[in-house]
């Protein structure tokens, strides 16, 4: 009997070993992943009332924690919330966390691995963990200027970035909202505000439309076709492209017309220069039909399309050009090649594509964060320019730059010109369904011989005249401001 008792004891010991194992797993090995679980609001409860680090622009806090008298010792406060809502996002107990508040939550809360040593010393000195501060790459003057360029009542996004470093200088989108409404400690008022804002057309509570929303890019996508054409070796700068008034597809009752507002209809053959200056449709559709869907997709991917993993540091919605798995028929491919149909892009992606051309084909990783500092002002992180991918060759980038300069000097983006500076640019107009309204785009950079700034402007759902008035001329103003001309 005693042997059986000893055997049962071994079973009991085995059960306890399993328990020690599962406790260790939960509290040690899996603890980080449980703490990071999106359903877990314990870290939030812990940090919600604590002194989080500020988010700074030009040395001034745009998000900060201020002391209160209530049980919850600190309250998150946003300064100039409408101007920065799309970047900061909000840190809310009741409506979630978005934008930089979410993407930089560990730094702001002071709970990164690097901050652990600080916390240990704080444990001895008795002070509460205090978050690190996050300084942005944003230039407050340019940010304000860009924001004011979008008239109230009209939606739109503007991105200004440095093509050499990827640093975002300005990023705005309208309509905006007051992030303080979301950060309130009063659940009822947060719920009411959330329910109202989430239904308001054009407002994106989860981050700026400039990187969270995709739109048909229209003619700016022709830059991708151009790069694909030159990269294929079948075309060069002297190639003569077919430029019929309309592209017909045998056996299908569909024709793709040329662009109406330039001078495309004056000639039925075109050089790249002429086709880009006037933004003719049929030459680029022909290129796509000639090279095939996979070639265009490959070039689009090299510019950053179909990349769903980008974060800057908040995650960026992926732009899209369908790959060969979703085979497009010829009319669909032709329409996609001019930036309609199955193509969609965030304004940030168009800025990144433009930046790659400006930067000799090297696409840099966009970034909003300049430095992260501890409460005692030690820098723990600072922006290190990082190359994402080689989008095209320096030669092709130079060739496209030359053509984009001529688009501004001689073509339909003339309003973007800045006296004394060579500006490279491209406009885009994409039809929105059958509404008669368009997505109006401008993307470009300056100075063309030593690109310092990329400007991308996007106005959805406007008529042609409004679009034209709000894109290229505003780009010119922004170039003047950033280049101090």
């Amino acid at each position: 009997m005693n042997q059986a008792i000893r055997n049962s004891w071994i079973v009991a010991v085995a059960l306890f070993i399993l328990l020690f194992g599962s406790i260790s797993y939960v509290q040690f090995f899996d603890a980080d992943s449980l703490n990071a679980n999106p359903s877990n609001n314990r870290q939030l409860l812990k940090t919600f009332c604590s002194d989080r680090g500020p988010i700074l622009v030009g040395g001034h806090p745009i998000a900060e924690s201020v002391a209160t008298d209530s049980d919850c010792k600190y309250q998150r406060k946003y300064n100039d919330p409408l101007l920065y809502a799309g970047l900061t996002g909000f840190f809310s107990k009741y409506a979630g966390q978005y934008g930089l508040e979410s993407a930089m939550r560990d730094e702001l809360a002071g709970t990164t691995n690097e901050a652990v040593f600080d916390r240990i010393s704080q444990a001895f000195t008795g002070t509460r963990p205090q978050g690190q501060s996050v300084e942005l790459t944003i230039d407050p003057a340019i940010q304000k200027m860009a924001y004011d360029m979008i008239p109230d009542g009209i939606a739109g996004s503007i991105v200004v970035m440095n093509p050499k470093t990827g640093a975002v200088v300005a990023m705005v989108s309208k309509p905006s909202y007051d992030t303080n409404l979301m950060a309130s400690h009063d659940q009822k008022s947060v719920d009411t505000a959330y329910a109202k804002l989430v239904n308001e057309p054009g407002i994106n509570l989860f981050g700026s439309a400039a990187y969270k929303q995709t739109y048909a890019p229209g003619s700016v996508f022709k830059l991708v076709d151009t790069a694909a054409a030159l990269a294929s070796g079948k075309y060069n700068k002297d190639s003569v492209l077919p430029n019929p008034a309309a592209l017909k597809f045998p056996g299908i009752d569909y024709t793709l017309p040329n662009y109406l507002y330039g001078q495309c209809d004056t000639q039925d053959k075109a050089s790249f220069t002429f086709a880009l200056e006037n933004s003719c449709n049929t030459p680029f559709a022909s290129i796509a039909l000639d090279l095939g869907q996979d070639a265009i997709t490959a070039q689009a991917n090299k510019f950053g399309f179909n990349d769903k993993s980008l974060s800057f540091p908040d995650s960026v919605t992926g732009s899209r050009f369908p790959g060969s798995t979703a085979t497009l028929d010829k009319p669909a491919l032709a329409r996609s090649a001019i930036g309609q149909q199955d193509v969609s892009a965030t304004p940030l992606e168009i800025a990144m594509m433009t930046a790659a051309i400006a930067n000799g084909g090297k696409q840099m990783k966009p970034n909003l964060v300049q430095t992260v500092r501890t409460p005692d002002l030690r820098t723990v992180e600072s922006l290190k320019p990082q190359m994402l991918r080689q989008s095209t060759t320096p030669e092709i980038a130079q060739q496209i730059t030359d053509w984009m300069v001529s688009v501004v000097e001689n073509g339909i983006a003339g309003a973007a010109a800045v006296p004394g500076v060579e500006v490279a640019g491209k406009t885009g107009t994409a039809e929105v369904g059958n509404t008669g309204l368009n997505n109006a785009w401008f993307t470009g950079f300056a100075p063309a011989n030593d690109p310092q700034y990329v400007v991308t402007i996007m106005m959805p759902n406007v008529d042609v005249a409004t679009g034209a008035a709000l894109t290229s001329p505003n780009a010119s103003k922004l170039f003047k401001a950033v280049l101090k001309k």
Partner: protein, 456 residues
């Protein structure tokens, strides 16, 4: 008969010393709760410390008179656990506004009184053997009570295991654990020769005769009955484990364990297929971290909140009063292990589990040491059931196995559990006293030596 011999020394002074340490732990825990939650040490604090000390001393003194040679470690371990439980329940009361702490104090008093009564009135544990069949009848009655209209408390958190008498609720199944162990110990110690020697042999596997399968069938029916009629998965597993280990120890035959495992597998699979509440338990366990399962009613919200709490505590814990264990549903009863894990950390929880392991080890030690087979079976059954109960509840909270609503012995808020477990402590102390006492000059009629069959 090979027996472990222990030098017969009472060791009551060692027990007293350990008791002081154990009391210190409970009182300090309560002090920390008050400190960290910004409370002053009011009169209640000192009264409670005095009450806990008084109760422990009462048991200690009873042992000096009635079970001089009892194991000196068991009581301090139990006092430490009970004291910690009271502190944690008090801590949760402060933030939730509940009064579970007061009820727990009341039940601790009652449970200790019951333990003292058992120690005082039960001269020798072998007397219980006379109540073998009465225990069976009592067990069946106790298990049926929650289904009797009028006193049934109905469905509480998905299980029908409570009765309601005026303002008091009680879980008779907790007591049934003891009476069933007594029945099986009595039945098996009387009939083990028959069970062992009769039956066909297939290869190395000795099969029992079908008539000897009787207790196994009773066990199976009881477990399945509890599962079907009371929706109580944990107790069902517990009973079955209790029977299996006792039959195995009685017969030393692995064939019984195999038959038992087959029965359990069949029963378990059938239950999974037939009973929606079992299906749901298993499914929510597997997909526990799926956001939809977390949010669903009857989903994994409770266990996942517990996991989040334990992860929040990490290695060293947040400190008593510094975490937010109250965001876990049933934090002071089913999930008290998660509360302790959060505030005392991996280290604290390991210490608690070590206390359980120590207690169970002493139970097994008593089983090894005692000379009569009834005592051996009873001790091993109670100790193993205790181990299984710890495994089922702590394993459930840490998502090692699906969560079932078993109580965490001595820690969780709940009167019936405290009462039953303190009675088990009294019985094990009594058996350990018999095990460690100097050998009696002559065997009593109750304890005729039986032929020991070597383990196969």
């Amino acid at each position: 008969m090979s027996q472990l011999m222990t030098v017969a020394k009472p060791r009551r002074n060692i027990e007293l010393l350990l008791l002081v340490l154990a009391l210190g732990m409970g009182v300090m825990a309560n002090a920390l709760v008050n400190l960290n939650l910004g409370r002053t040490f009011d009169k209640d604090f000192y009264t409670q410390a005095a009450v806990l000390a008084g109760l422990s001393l009462a048991v200690h003194i009873t042992l000096r008179f009635r079970a001089k040679y009892a194991d000196p470690v068991m009581l301090p371990v139990v006092v430490a656990l009970n004291g910690l439980g009271l502190a944690v329940i008090h801590r949760l009361d402060i933030v939730t506004g509940d009064t579970a702490g007061q009820r727990q104090w009341l039940w601790t008093g009652l449970a200790v009184a019951a333990a003292v009564a058992v120690l005082w009135l039960l001269k020798d544990h072998r007397i219980l053997r006379r109540f073998t069949y009465i225990s069976l009848v009592l067990s069946v009655l106790l298990l049926l009570l929650p289904l009797v209209p009028g006193i049934s408390a109905g469905d509480v958190n998905g299980a029908t295991v409570w009765i309601k008498l005026g303002p008091f609720t009680f879980q008779p199944g907790e007591i049934a654990k003891i009476t069933l162990a007594v029945f099986f110990a009595g039945y098996l110690s009387s009939n083990r020769d028959l069970i062992l020697l009769a039956g066909k042999k297939i290869g190395r596997l000795q099969l029992p005769r079908s008539r000897d399968l009787g207790p196994m069938v009773v066990a199976w029916i009881a477990s399945v009955g509890v599962l079907v009629f009371q929706h109580d998965l944990g107790t069902s597993v517990l009973f079955f484990g209790l029977f299996m280990v006792m039959i195995y120890v009685a017969t030393s035959r692995i064939s019984w364990v195999l038959i038992g495992l087959v029965l359990m597998a069949v029963g378990g699979y059938a239950a999974y297929k037939i009973f929606p509440h079992v299906t749901r338990r298993i499914d929510t366990w597997i997909h526990a971290l799926d956001p939809q399962v977390i949010g669903a009613t009857g989903g994994s919200g409770q266990v996942v909140e517990g996991l989040f709490g334990m992860a929040n505590g990490g290695l060293l814990g947040t400190g008593l009063g510094e975490g937010s264990p109250d965001s876990v549903p049933l934090a002071n009863s089913d999930m008290i292990i998660a509360s302790i894990g959060e505030e005392l950390g991996l280290v604290g929880l390991f210490a608690v589990v070590c206390l359980y392991a120590l207690f169970i080890a002493r139970g097994f030690r008593a089983a090894l040491g005692t000379r009569d087979s009834f005592g051996k079976l009873l001790a091993v059954g109670l100790a193993f059931a205790f181990a299984l109960q710890c495994f089922v509840i702590i394993g459930g909270v840490t998502r090692l196995i699906p969560l079932t609503g078993l109580t965490t012995p001595f820690l969780a808020a709940g009167g019936s559990s405290l009462l039953a477990n303190w009675i088990i402590v009294a019985l094990l102390l009594k058996i350990s006293d018999a095990a460690r006492r100097p050998a009696a000059p002559a065997a009593k009629p109750d304890d005729q030596p039986r032929k020991e069959v070597p383990a196969s």
